[in-house]
């Protein structure tokens, strides 16, 4: 007995309603909004050529040069002018390169970081953000997260690559194990640089609703005020020199990697106090940004003028 044959299917047709339908699917939790803000910050900053990519190029060039010095002048010993302290070029290249990553980081902080909040205030982007379910903390977290990612590419990636390069130059397992400490130290100094250049210019950008003035204030604080307090600290032999962010980062790097040579202005700074200064800067900056954004949100500003 043969199996029953299924009746052939008749022609079928469907008409779809192409009109607007309200989205009825699942929605992400409000706590994920900051990721959208962060991704937007990264994307818009990445698109800029000379504002971000050129600084990234500077960091890449620094990495190549420092790496080249490490490789080519590996065992060459350098001494200070008194002939006392010594180091190999391979050991000196990484801590001395921090100074250049700091310069690249400052460039990005000036051209992007110092105009984030002020640019949003002036353009009316606040209205777009806060007309949706974005809370002030989502905005701050998102902008900060975006800057951290961008800065990490400059301040953290480079030193980490150099640290691994230094490990790669080890001649035996013993030397490899002996230099393993470079990796966490590179991460530490990279993170510090990332945090400084992400948070402090962001705070300046929230203080004044004009991107150019906030940039000028940040440049004046970092360059002029920094140089001033550095000089003051040196002559008065006081702690005030740690308020210079560039020199503080340099001092921390040189101390972390135990480099006694060519310390320059950083040689006069107590690394512990420098670290405290950096962390206090970051903390105060975060507090300022949070306060300013909450205030702007509460007062309903942000309409395009």
């Amino acid at each position: 007995m043969s199996a029953p044959v299924a009746p052939p299917e008749g022609p079928v047709g469907t008409i779809h309603d192409l009109g607007y339908k309200r989205y009825a699917g699942s929605r992400l939790a409000a706590s994920t909004r900051w990721r959208v803000v962060m991704r937007n910050q990264i994307t818009t900053s990445w698109k800029t050529w000379w504002r971000f990519k050129s600084s990234l190029a500077l960091a890449v060039i620094t990495t190549f040069i420092a790496g080249g010095v490490m490789f080519i002048l590996n065992d060459k010993v350098v001494r200070d002018f008194a002939g006392a302290a010594a180091s190999t070029m391979a050991d000196a290249a990484l801590p001395k390169s921090i100074e250049w990553y700091t310069r690249a980081g400052f460039l990005v902080s000036l051209t992007i970081g110092a105009r984030i909040v002020s640019g949003d205030l002036r353009s009316g982007a606040f209205t777009f953000y806060f007309a949706r379910s974005v809370r002030p903390r989502d905005y701050v977290l998102g902008k900060l997260g975006g800057m951290v990612v961008l800065m990490a590419l400059i301040s953290l990636a480079g030193p980490l690559v150099l640290a691994f390069a230094r490990l790669g130059l080890s001649q035996d397992t013993g030397q490899l194990l002996a230099t393993l400490h470079l990796v966490p130290k590179a991460i530490a100094i990279g993170l510090l640089g990332t945090l400084v250049f992400s948070t402090v210019p962001l705070a300046f950008s929230s203080l004044i609703a004009n991107a150019r003035y906030s940039m000028a204030l940040w440049a004046a604080y970092y360059l002029v005020f920094g140089w001033m307090v550095s000089l003051l600290g040196r002559v008065s032999k006081s702690w005030i020199g740690v308020l210079d962010l560039a020199t503080s980062l340099d001092a921390i790097a040189l101390d972390l990697f135990d480099l006694r040579l060519f310390r320059g202005r950083a040689g006069h700074l107590d690394p512990t106090l420098a670290l405290i200064s950096v962390l206090v800067h970051v903390g105060v900056a975060l507090a300022i940004v949070s306060f300013q954004v909450r205030r702007a949100h509460g007062s309903g500003v942000g309409g395009a003028s």
């Binding site: 504002r51 150019r212 003035y213 940039m215 000028a216 002029v224 001033m228 000089l231 008065s236």
Partner: protein
Amino acid sequence: MSDERRIPSGLGTTATIAGLTWMRLVRGRALWVGTLIAVLPVLFAGAMRSVGEHTGGELFGIEVLILAVLAPMLVGASIGEEIEDRTTTYLWSRPVPRWAILAGKLVTLAPLAAVLVIASWIAASRIAWDSWPTVQTCVALGAGAITISLVSAGIATLAPRHGMALTIVYMLFFDFPLGILPATLRELSVAHQVRSLAGTSPIETGAAAAAIALAIIAGVWTLIAAVRVRRLEA
């Protein structure tokens, strides 16, 4: 053409734009921010004095650094803001030569930068040394302010939206390092010429030569600005 339908002259336009720029300066925040920046060396001099130390050439170096921020903030930002806000459509659709619009801004902003930095230098010197600074150093700072303002104007017409930031970057990463090179290239540096004109440079070039060099640098960037602004489109 009747008197009511005449074309404004270049000088008249410059004067009108200068008046407009000044009005906006006074009512805006640029003056406050500029003054705040200019006060920094004064605070430094006071702090050094309070710890019983005397400043040397560092104070003058800080004033030169101030110029690298102040002049671009005033000039570069002013030009960039007009283009970004598109208020240039009002100016460029008027029957006025474009160089006069640029000149009007410069005659207000460049001297203002000079006045701020000279005032800062005088106040800081008085606090640091209880004496007036020399006329030569004041002239050097004033000339430096004017030159950097013109550099900023030139850069702002080349890259209107980022004139200020680019000028600061140019000064920090090109001009200042160039100025300490032990080579003839340092003559291209505004910072070096200012120090030479003031007589504080370790590499003596002579005040007259420095003044001429500043004039040439200023002239080149002014030419760039004048040529570029003619062809910019709104």
